[in-house]
């Protein structure tokens, strides 16, 4: 889809983060524009999740600044423009009393003004979001009883219900089988191309990266930005990023 380079959705400048003197992220600068499809990859413990948490204001950077739609995080109010699917979404408590519809409805809660109940429009948006994720038939099922792939789609539908401009997914494939993963990447591409939603997703598994990705950020304390992901998978940055593993992953790619 058309990428708009006017105001970046995320504008990150010289972001660093340390915990008790230990550097987790250092000097990260990047921009994410409307319409992009970005994968953030890196080894476990490389700081991917920390970066995302800082993008969303859940963690404050030690130094540096994050701007969202041109505004500083503190001044940013339009959170419904952002859909976030956290890593732990895949292991929700099996006993939590929520049907799929309950979960997707949560996506409308912040949009609704105080003192008002769910409107027809809200119900329509909830239904649309479930339809896009192909889970309408599951709406009365308890989330605890869903398969990994179904649960993943329910979580994304929740994020979509607020009609976000950007969707951020942290390790969305944890606990999801390969077939569901392929289906999932197709859905993401579709959301990016047809719904014009900017997509950012994080994974430690570079073997699964889809073909449609526009840019690739590799995070391992520092950030490297590859504008051509297909080249990136064979470039030297990979061996720097993953050490010995890069070789294995490289070969793995060739087998296909």
């Amino acid at each position: 889809m058309q990428i708009s380079y006017k105001v970046p959705i995320f504008d990150v400048k010289n972001l660093s983060f340390s915990v008790r003197g230990q550097k987790i992220l250092s000097q990260i600068s990047l921009e994410i524009f409307h319409g992009e499809y970005i994968a953030i990859i890196g080894p476990n413990g490389g700081g991917k999740t920390t970066l995302v948490r800082m993008l969303l204001g859940l963690e404050l950077p030690t130094t540096g600044e994050v701007r969202l739609f041109g505004k500083r995080l503190k001044e940013f109010k339009e959170w419904s423009k952002i859909g976030f699917v956290p890593q732990r979404a895949s292991h929700v408590d099996a006993n939590f009393p929520a049907t799929v519809e309950d979960i997707v409805k949560m996506g409308r809660v912040a949009k609704r003004g105080l003192f008002s109940t769910f409107s027809k429009k809200d119900s329509q948006m909830v239904h649309d979001a479930m339809q896009k994720m192909d889970i309408v038939h599951l709406k009365d099922k308890m989330v605890g009883t869903l398969s990994g792939g179904q649960r993943q789609r329910a979580m994304i539908a929740r994020a979509l219900a607020s009609s976000p401009e950007i969707l951020i997914l942290d390790e969305p494939n944890t606990g999801v089988d390969t077939l569901s993963q392929q289906r999932f990447y197709k859905l993401l591409s579709k959301l990016n191309k047809e719904e014009k939603i900017t997509i950012v997703f994080i994974t430690h598994d570079i073997g699964v990266i889809a073909d449609d990705i526009g840019r690739l950020f590799t995070i391992n304390q520092k950030a490297t930005i590859c504008n051509d992901p297909k080249k990136a998978l064979s470039c030297e940055d990979m061996s720097e990023l993953y050490g010995i593993d890069a070789h294995l992953i490289h070969n793995h790619k060739h087998e296909h």
Partner: protein, 265 residues
């Protein structure tokens, strides 16, 4: 069976009891889902400090209890956000600290008597008109707040961080919830008693969760269990001269056991 309603004190007790059943079960749903169960126990003991001060200084014990419970709730919420790792230890410290303080205050005031006993275990005989007025007025206000923010509170119970990134004021709503819970607990000690109110908040929801149904139905089942327990408990308490709080708690536990066994996979 209905002869008990000929007595005004029973009418008062039932109004107060039913109100508390509704309040405790609805707030309890959020408390259980947020894993704040132990907090209700702690706040009940803090409320006892208020009762002690009220008894000794001659103020309305229920009003002082509401006030002290709210202060305690804020203190706990503040400490929890500062020392996140040891939040259960904080609850434990405030629980025993409050109880110790309450006992000392009452002993110094020389009024360690039946009056305190009724606040520990609940007593339907002792619900006054003033108590009913306090319970209904504060209770309606608390219920209104809970219902107004129920969707937000549900979202927060499900995932605090996702709720925050959706633009929900998580910190404010957490404070609001503990404040409302503090009020409800303080109001409940007249009928259920401070040692037992935690049970009326937590167990109906714990039982309802066994049915594995959605949010609204879980809350309705929890409400149903709480009302049944209070009605049965107070009736049995009247006919067999048993302490109301203890009777209510044993009934709600029976309902929990039945729910657990009948829903076993």
């Amino acid at each position: 069976m209905l002869e008990m309603f000929e007595y005004e004190f029973m009418q008062r007790a039932f109004i107060a009891g039913l109100f508390i059943a509704v309040l405790a079960s609805i707030s309890g749903t959020f408390i259980v889902l947020k894993r704040y169960s132990l907090m209700s126990e702690t706040l009940a003991h803090s409320a006892l400090v208020g009762v002690a001060v009220g008894l000794v200084a001659g103020y309305n014990p229920l009003w002082v209890a509401v006030f002290v419970a709210i202060l305690s709730a804020w203190l706990i919420e503040y400490l929890r956000s500062t020392f996140t790792l040891y939040s259960d230890a904080i609850l434990s410290i405030i629980l025993s600290g409050s109880l110790a303080l309450a006992v000392i205050i009452v002993s110094l005031g020389g009024s360690f008597n039946n009056s305190l006993f009724s606040y520990l275990f609940g007593s339907i005989l002792s619900v006054s008109y003033q108590d009913v007025f306090t319970i209904v007025s504060f209770g309606s206000f608390s219920l209104l707040l809970l219902l107004l923010f129920s969707k937000e509170l549900y979202f927060i119970s499900y995932d605090e961080e996702v709720a925050q990134t959706s633009g929900i004021k998580v910190k404010f709503l957490n404070f609001l919830l503990v404040t409302v819970v503090a009020i409800i607990i303080a109001l409940s000690i007249r009928v259920v008693g401070s040692l037992l109110i935690g049970a009326l908040m937590v167990i109906p929801t714990a039982a309802a969760l066994q049915y594995r149904v959605g949010f609204r139905n879980t809350m309705l089942i929890s409400l149903f269990f709480a009302v049944v327990s209070v009605v049965l408990g107070m009736s049995i308490s009247y006919y067999f001269s048993l302490p109301s709080g203890a009777t209510i708690v044993l009934i709600v536990i029976s309902l929990f056991v039945i729910s657990l066994v009948s829903n076993k996979k």
